[in-house]
């Protein structure tokens, strides 16, 4: 199964025992296709590394400066704080909407997932405005005699914006896991006299741990990668410093060094995660019966409803209210249709190309599993976890030095999107391919079709559902993408995300309203569908 939003796709793990590889050699064209896919994923990183190594002593002095140390501490601190916050809130919302007897919990379950459709940078600028002097929140507190709040910018603002952005991941993953957990243990604990909380801690939490680890990892990687929220909140994380160095210095070496360090940090986290994975699974594959809902006391129920209400209020209602408010207040609707169209077409192009690239990857990984195909899959997944600003910077170096006429062209931008988001498409395609019996393809081969024709006529149509879902995810993620677009967009080309960013960084919040709302509307519907679909599974 693919995870709810496809963002955490464990490379090469499925619940079912792997089928024996199909007979016959791996067709060479598959490897050629895979090589084409792999080059844009790996080449920029090689160029970045070469740039850093080539800088020699300068690179060392940046890497070991006091400032880099401070950035490291701040970034890791923020990551830990956001992960903790997301885990606490996401687990609570998941439990309340899956296991409690709260009224309307199905509706709540959708409501608390809604912040998913709001990009972190939009959330950040909404919070900045809402807590500012003319803001909604400040205004609402007016009756208490409050006329100004301390600025939300800085570590608290960055934390809040990122917790709101990341807890839905934990919520979705934990909800799915809670539905699979055998309720028998909880019932046993309760019948032995444990309080609901104690039963949760002793019977549910241990079973939930793998899901929470996955959700927490996702929140942590997201925080390390986030550029928009930390920049707008003026919090000194690595991503912000990389962009500041890129913008403010004639020498690009320091930016390259910082990007390399951030990449190394993410790779270390991935390695640790890889090692710890697969130990001590506590799942029962299928619950012995459907879970019973835990009855809550009325007071607790009120508290729980209040909690879900506040989460929804801050995570979704507030942003929409603020954005609509801006829109109503400004005399002219400042929507650049060219930006909307730009967002749309590059996202569609990236989604299509990613789907095309996903086909050889999925076929290799599922049907021709080997050490090489596993390594390829890992490489693709690792790039997915890397901060976009670092990958984009590497791509800039690659393009300006080696790609000649493609430099500043659409091709580089779209290929970068595909390199970044490919696992969303290939993971979904793999998911559906795993469910197809290879004997169908073998029959096609046996009837004389070539390997290529078999893939085209039999395999791809059969996995088209998964491919389409993966393509939709790539589309949505590309629509929201900011840092890579900022660095790589062709001259004169705008997207909604870039428009929002330019308006916000000039302090012209009102100008950001129309593009932000449009971005949310366009991404909300497909995102909602993908999420609810995953609920039905």
């Amino acid at each position: 199964m693919t995870e709810p939003v496809g963002l955490l796709e464990a490379p090469l793990e499925s619940a079912r025992p792997p089928r024996p590889p199909s007979p016959g050699r791996t067709p060479r064209f598959l490897w050629v296709a895979a090589a084409f896919v792999l080059v844009p994923v790996v080449a920029p990183l090689v160029v970045l590394a070469a740039k850093v190594v080539g800088a020699g002593g300068d690179a060392w002095s940046v890497a070991f400066s006091e400032r880099t140390g401070r950035l490291l501490v701040q970034t890791i601190g923020l990551t830990a704080a956001v992960t903790t916050g997301a885990l606490v809130i996401g687990t609570a919302t998941a439990w309340l909407t899956v296991r409690s007897d709260l009224k309307g919990r199905r509706v709540w379950s959708v409501l608390v997932a809604l912040p998913l459709v709001i990009p972190s940078y939009v959330l950040a600028l909404v919070l900045l405005s809402a807590f500012g002097n003319d803001g909604v929140v400040t205004g609402a507190l007016g009756f208490l005699g409050v006329d100004s709040l301390p600025s939300i910018a800085g570590s608290f603002g960055a934390w809040l914006a990122l917790v709101i952005t990341t807890y839905p991941f934990v919520h979705l993953i934990a909800s799915a896991a809670l539905r699979r957990i055998d309720p028998g243990l909880t019932d046993a604990a309760r019948s032995l006299g444990a309080s609901p909380l104690a039963a949760f801690r002793t019977a549910v939490l241990p079973q939930l741990r793998p899901a929470l680890a996955a959700g927490g990892l996702l929140a942590a990687l997201y925080t390390l990668s986030d550029f928009g929220a930390v920049s707008l909140m003026r919090f000194d994380a690595f991503t912000r410093a990389i962009y500041a160095q890129y913008q403010g210095r004639l020498d690009r070496t320091p930016a390259a060094v910082l990007a390399m360090i951030l990449i190394a940090l993410v790779l270390v986290i991935l390695m640790i995660e890889q090692r710890s994975r697969g130990k001590g699974r506590a799942y029962t594959p299928r619950p012995s019966r459907t879970p019973t809902q835990v009855t809550m006391r009325p007071a607790m129920r009120g508290l729980a409803t209040g909690f879900l209400g506040i989460v929804t209020l801050v995570g979704f209602v507030l942003p929409i209210v603020v954005l609509v408010g801006w829109l109503l207040r400004s005399d002219t609707v400042s929507l650049e249709w060219s930006a909307a169209f730009g967002s749309l077409w590059v996202s569609v192009a990236a989604a299509m190309l990613a789907m095309a690239a996903a086909i050889p990857v999925a076929v290799l990984v599922v049907r021709h599993r080997s050490r090489l195909s596993i390594a390829m899959d890992r490489a693709i997944h690792s790039v997915f976890a890397l901060p976009h600003i670092a990958v984009a910077l590497a791509m800039v170096f690659l393009a300006v030095n080696y790609l000649g006429p493609l430099y500043q062209g659409f091709a580089v931008l779209i290929i970068t999107y595909v390199a970044l988001f490919l696992p969303q498409a290939s993971g979904a395609a793999r998911g559906s391919l795993e469910q197809i019996d290879p004997s169908v393809e073998e029959a096609s081969r046996g009837l004389g079709r070539s390997a290529l024709a078999t893939i085209g006529v039999v395999t791809v149509p059969l996995m088209s559902k998964g491919l389409a879902a993966g393509g939709a995810l790539v589309f949505l993620t590309t629509m929201k993408e900011l840092p890579a677009t900022l660095l790589l967009r062709p001259t004169g080309f705008d997207t909604l995300a870039v428009d929002i960013w330019s308006a916000a960084s000039e302090g012209l919040f009102g100008l950001a309203a129309a593009p932000a709302l449009l971005l949310i509307v366009v991404s909300a519907v497909p995102m909602y569908l993908l999420v609810t679909r995953s609920y039905e599974r």
Partner: protein
């Protein structure tokens, strides 16, 4: 499904092929923001029929981009908001010398002495302050190092204008004094912004009390909002903080569209465009005979430091290093 596959394949091929769109548009790298420049560009396109593709980004970032691109730069014109970025590009020998007719349109004291870029509009460094919370104004920039200003100062350290000011400080006071000042400033926990308008907005809203910015952002805010609690303070000690610097433009030596490039630069110096700076962006026009906004003290009355603007570029890289070392960037 085979049809979908074909479509995907066609698209993939088309994508790789569309890096170069083949049109002969004039490519301008603009360090000036889109809100300021876009109306001018539109007017130029309408008057001349020349298509312009504009790459908007920070001036320093674009200078670094041009340096990295070297002789292959797609840019024809570099329109920067500060003389230091222009100087960095001219220092690398990437600008063509402008024609004498172009140069003499503008004031020579606000253009490059070698003629590789020309001043387009004048901008003064000021301290924007809140009239509600600031009663005693600092005499010069050293006063801002007083602990009383801790956490109250806004700066935009990656901004070309701020970096030009630091570069000017290196030229005027030397590297050590500049480093000491930046470290002192960093110790006072300044609030860092991405750009000048955000600083002025923050002073206006009371988030911070003072900010080191260019003079016209407040006038634009006033024009939009009608009133503000913020005001401009022109330093009168004649130091780097009182720098008056031009936004300027130069033509890339690698350009293969030089006639259009020259036409564009001369358009920026036309009376229409200069009047636009005076009335819409509130900068100082640099073409003689065009009056600045009434709300401004006359350009020649400002107590600007004596400095060769052409040399600022050479100090820019050092300036960015010092700002970065002080932990501000």
């Amino acid at each position: 499904m085979p049809r979908l596959l074909t479509a995907i394949a066609v698209l993939a091929v088309a994508l790789v092929g569309c890096g170069d769109d083949g049109t002969e548009a004039l490519t301008v790298y603009s360090g000036r923001s889109e809100t300021l420049v876009a109306p001018l560009i539109a007017q130029f396109e309408e008057e001349t029929g020349i298509q312009v593709a504009v790459r908007y980004a920070g001036s320093t970032e674009l200078a670094a981009t041009i340096l990295e691109e070297g002789g292959n730069s797609p840019a024809d014109v570099f329109f920067a908001q500060d003389p230091a970025s222009l100087g960095a590009v001219s220092g690398a020998g990437l600008f063509d010398r402008l024609a004498a007719e172009t140069l003499e349109l503008s004031r020579p004291d606000f253009s490059d002495g070698e003629g590789s870029w020309v001043g387009i509009s004048g901008r003064a460094r000021v301290l924007v302050y809140s009239t509600e919370s600031v009663t005693e104004l600092p005499m010069d920039r050293d006063d801002l190092l007083d602990a009383a200003w801790k956490g109250r100062i806004g700066i935009a350290p990656g901004n070309g204008s701020f970096l030009s000011f630091v570069a000017a400080s290196i030229l005027l006071d030397g590297e050590n004094a500049t480093r000491a000042w930046l470290e002192g400033l960093a110790a006072n926990d300044p609030v860092r912004f991405d750009g000048n308008s955000a600083i002025v907005a923050a002073v206006d809203s009371g988030e911070i009390d003072v900010g080191l910015v260019n003079h016209y952002y407040l006038l634009r805010l006033l024009d939009e909002k009608g009133s503000s609690t913020a005001a401009n303070h022109f330093f009168d000690a004649g130091g780097a903080a009182a720098l008056v610097m031009p936004a300027g433009a130069g033509m890339l030596a690698s350009s293969n569209n030089k006639d259009a490039a020259t036409e564009f630069i001369e358009f920026l110096l036309s009376s229409d465009a200069q009047a636009y700076y005076a009335s819409e962006t509130f900068e100082y026009p640099l073409v003689p005979g065009i009056a600045a906004s009434d709300a401004l003290p006359p350009l020649d009355s400002l107590d600007a430091p004596e400095i060769d603007l052409g040399e600022l570029g050479a100090a820019l890289d050092r300036a960015t290093e010092l700002v970065s070392e002080a932990g501000l960037l």
